[in-house]
């Protein structure tokens, strides 16, 4: 197949048909009409370069990237990278170090946390394309109806988890008296994802993984980690303020939108996605922290990387710079609503981001955001820890479950040493 393609290519070159470089790009399966607008912009400005972009549905994206890169050819030239997978790809030399292509000023145009997420062993390997943040959404009508004062939306009045638990207990209400709550105090949008839960443990000072990125024993099994996880388990099992098994974030959003959650720990995209619930009156409080601990918020999102085996590295870098540049990111935000990873985009769209909720998220991204664990084995780490969190939400013993999970993760991480 490859040989056929080569022969064909040579034949075409001999015929003098090929005059333009073609870049193959592996991209997230966003709507084609949106993505093509950016691609067409690039091709219009760079007539010598043709972009062959392939949009892969989210469910198959990571497998496709794995298979294509493991094949070892020079394509795709450019591909989209989920932030925490950066280390995994970089450790296998799937990402071209970009330090020589980016000036300090160009790098400083991105959020610091995003640059950190795109760096592996001191090398800048994946360029931030978007970011994310989370906070505590609350349904104003439910608070008012049951006479509970509204939480403050100010950063300096950040609630503690202990306070949130008390509020949630007050607002878990069985309206039809059938023994089951009809309004739940607290919903968690991504109920068992380390993305949204690690900030709880990190708020108590726990670390998610060893500095080397190869060990979890003593980290996810530490007293602080277990303590925060125990709190999480109590939400479902002791205080019963959160429903178990709601592991689809779209359904969690429906629950909040239709008044079945008084509060929801959720992402910035809800500003756009909750708009369809026209009767919903909600507010946004900062991501809670533990009393005596420090505020920590989740962050991270899509990045873009270049295949080191690409035959068109220069053109590839040019495309990456273009699509992550200010103008195109503004265009992309307008098209798709993704939180930009560039402070200058926020500054350029004061109308959009002056919304106090966006202001809150921006402050969090600038001050309290912590990226997900830095390990080449992130996908295994995430999967096994997620299973452990799910079990704990169903009442499993936190300490024992985390110890088992740690042993399994450490076995898998050994492969990366």
């Amino acid at each position: 197949m490859k040989r056929c393609a080569l022969v064909f290519l040579f034949a075409m070159m001999a015929a003098g048909i090929v005059t333009a470089q073609t870049l193959e790009v592996l991209w997230m399966g966003w709507p084609k009409d949106q993505v093509m607008q950016l691609v067409n912009d690039f091709q219009a400005q760079n007539p010598g370069i043709k972009i062959d972009i392939q949009l892969i549905p989210f469910g198959q994206l990571f497998q496709t990237i794995e298979v294509r890169l493991a094949a070892g050819g020079g394509t795709p030239d450019v591909y989209i990278v989920d932030g925490p997978n950066t280390a995994s790809y970089a450790a296998r030399n799937y990402l071209l170090p970009l330090d020589e292509y980016f000036t300090a000023a160009e790098k400083n145009a991105f959020f610091k946390s995003s640059i950190r997420a795109g760096t592996y062993e001191g090398k800048f390997v994946s360029v931030p394309y978007g970011t994310s943040s989370a906070g505590l959404f609350f349904n104003k009508e439910i608070f008012e109806k049951y006479g509970v004062p509204l939480p403050s939306e100010k950063l300096e009045d950040r609630l503690t988890w202990e306070q949130v638990a008390e509020l949630a207990k007050k607002l878990t209400i069985d309206t039809d008296k059938d023994g089951k709550p009809d309004i739940w105090g607290l919903g968690i949008e991504q109920i068992d994802r380390p993305y949204l839960l690690l900030p709880l443990m990190q708020s108590l000072g726990a670390e998610a993984i060893s500095p080397s990125g190869f060990e979890t024993k003593g980290y996810i099994t530490s007293d602080k980690f277990v303590k925060a996880t125990t709190f999480y388990g109590k939400l479902f099992n002791e205080w019963k303020v959160s429903p178990t098994g709601l592991n689809d974030s779209a359904i969690a959003r429906e629950y909040f939108g239709t008044g079945k959650f008084a509060m929801m720990l959720g992402n910035e995209w809800n500003i756009a996605r909750l708009a369809k619930f026209t009767n919903l009156k909600y507010g946004l409080a900062p991501f809670p922290y533990f009393a005596g601990g420090v505020p920590v918020t989740p962050t991270g999102s899509w990045h873009v990387g270049v295949n080191p085996k690409s035959a068109n590295k220069k053109a590839a870098v040019q495309f990456v710079k273009f699509i992550t540049g200010k103008e195109e990111v503004i265009k992309w935000y307008k098209l798709n609503g993704i939180a930009p990873a560039r402070p200058d985009v926020y500054a350029a769209l004061p109308g959009d981001f002056s919304n106090p909720m966006w202001q809150l998220f921006i402050s969090e991204m600038n001050s309290t955001a912590v990226t997900r664990p830095d390990t080449p084995g992130y996908s295994q780490y995430e999967l096994i820890l997620r299973e452990a969190f799910a079990s704990i939400s169903y009442g499993a013993d936190p300490k024992k479950t985390l110890e088992d999970a740690s042993a399994r993760i450490d076995r898998e991480l050994k492969k990366y040493k």
């Binding site: 296998r92 178990t244 295994q380 399994r408 492969k415």
Partner: protein, 288 residues
């Protein structure tokens, strides 16, 4: 029948070739892989019994999965056998509705396991499911079903019995039709009543069918995967984490091929042992 073995071998060779390529060879590869480990860079190395010793000594997830698989097997196989045999006995008589019910009971078999799983997930949804609506209507408390570590495995068992019983019923019906009517007539002459006929004639004479159904069903259920994958993902709290699913996640989600191959190799040995024991225990003691 054949003058020389050569001709016989010639006739079985196509089937044998397929068996070798698509069954024996992969089994061999899987056994071989269970002694290997693959690093993330794709480098494979021989590790001897390391995968086995890890599973047996340091892997509580594996042991929980073994427990779940055995409990599941010990429940689902007798229940399926009992239900399908009962249906067959009831539908062996000739009534005007017999044919209709035979079709109805067989119908679930015509639905793929994945579709059945989706149907059950919708009906037994803890928050908005059909089953809970009926329970409420009848004045009973709604149940968590797949959302509870205590009920989830039972729900999977129910699903499997519902899907498979009609299929095995057909084998029992065929077996029942194969029993000569004259034996019953002779028994009636000797004054045997219905129960006598059932326990002294029908069941013993069905032994071969029972044996086949039991062994096939056991092997089939040890390999159960679709409902777990689609509905529970092994949860809650590992309560439905059958070995086949654990092997799948190990291989294709966490990319630990060595551990996955070791689990399937162990599973193969377990299935062979169970099949052998069942065949011995249900061996027909007479000819007819």
């Amino acid at each position: 029948m054949f003058k020389s073995n050569k001709t016989a071998w010639l006739f079985v060779s196509p089937a044998l070739a397929f068996l070798l390529i698509f069954k024996i060879w992969p089994i061999g590869v899987s056994f071989f892989e269970s002694f290997m480990q693959t690093s993330f860079s794709g480098k494979r190395s021989f590790v001897g019994m390391e995968n086995y010793s890890y599973l047996f000594l340091h892997d509580p997830t594996f042991w929980n999965s073994v427990k779940v698989t055995f409990v599941f097997s010990l429940l689902v196989n007798p229940i399926t056998l009992f239900v399908s045999l009962t249906m067959a006995l009831l539908l062996n008589e000739k009534h005007f509705f017999t044919k209709f019910f035979r079709t109805v009971f067989f119908l679930p078999t015509a639905i793929s396991f994945s579709v059945v799983a989706v149907i059950f997930a919708v009906v037994l949804d803890p928050y908005n499911g059909l089953a809970n609506s009926f329970l409420k209507l009848a004045g009973m408390n709604s149940q968590p079903f797949f959302g509870s570590a205590n009920q989830s495995l039972w729900c999977v068992i129910l699903l499997c019995v519902w899907r498979s019983a009609g299929y095995w019923m057909m084998y029992f019906l065929a077996g029942l039709q194969g029993i000569p009517q004259t034996i019953y007539e002779a028994a009636e002459m000797d004054g045997a009543n219905g129960l006598h006929k059932l326990f002294r004639l029908t069941l013993p004479l069905l032994t071969r069918t029972t044996s086949f159904v039991l062994v096939s069903n056991t092997a089939f259920n040890f390999l159960m995967f679709a409902p777990v994958y689609i509905i529970t993902q092994g949860g809650p709290r590992g309560s439905t984490n059958l070995l086949m699913y654990e092997s799948y996640t190990s291989a294709f989600v966490i990319a630990d091929m060595g551990r996955a191959s070791t689990i399937t190799s162990i599973l193969l040995i377990v299935i062979m042992t169970f099949s052998f024991l069942e065949l011995r225990l249900t061996k027909a003691k007479f000819e007819y």
